[in-house]
Symmetry: C2
Subunit: 116 residues, 2 copies
DNA sequence: TCCTTAGTTCAATGGTTGTTGAACATTTGG
DNA sequence: CCAAATGTTCAACAACCATTGAACTAAGGA
């Protein structure tokens, strides 16, 4: 990774609905989770979001999503893999993630090609 | 009413998901819509929310919900009736309101008695 | 080893939030 | 008509947002 090897994530049981909705109350972050939903197992690398905002802004938005418990971020060499916390979110707030993702179809922004 | 006889509401087609989620990203406003969901036809009066926050704060929160297109507010004498914009929200973002409301059960805060 | 890639950190900035209290406006009941 | 009830407006405030650019760090490849 680029600095802190493992980033802080909230436990599943301390994820709050208000925080999740706050994390998703932004076009850029909605576009991010919409892309993450395209391939939930694989997730995505931060670099795949640079068409949405500047590098610094992406770091900021991913951190927001992570702190709210919406995504999990793992180190992978000099990169970071981002994945939806689907299981935790479904367990805690059933239906919420699905209905929101279903309504962001079309936000994914063109080319979302494979990495590596 | 207390001042402006009719308040501005966004048209259904200009309600944005990010704004709706932003309007719902607050404990007080989640509690408000949770109570509104208890009786969607009748709605509620602002005075019924005073256990959640100060009078001024309630005015502010209801305005946020109204401007985001989540509720419709109508004049009723010196009072204001607040109702969920269920039809508009369902048409625009199917499933979103339902899943969120389902996950706020328990936020209604005790006594939610009849008005008048 | 040096350079490139990938992402972070920091400080700054302007805008928005949520809350308060004091003053105000309107309707309605006595 | 007066007073109470219901809610609004306004200014102030501290806190947080989203974005920027410059400097940085760490891992990998040539």
């Amino acid at each position: 990774m680029t600095h802190p090897s493992v980033l802080p994530h909230p436990d599943a049981d301390q994820i709050s609905l208000a925080n999740v909705l706050g994390a998703l109350s932004d076009q850029t972050r909605l576009a991010i989770i919409s892309q993450l939903a395209c391939n939930e197992e694989k997730g995505a690398l931060c670099g795949q979001f640079t068409d949405l905002a500047s590098k610094t802004a992406i770091t900021y938005h991913i951190a927001k999503l992570r702190e709210a418990g919406v995504v999990r971020v793992t180190a992978e060499g000099t990169r970071r893999r981002v994945r939806l916390r689907r299981d935790d979110l479904d367990a805690r707030f059933p239906g919420v993630l699905d209905s929101i993702i279903a309504n962001t179809r079309g936000l994914e922004l063109q080319g979302f090609e494979a990495e590596e």
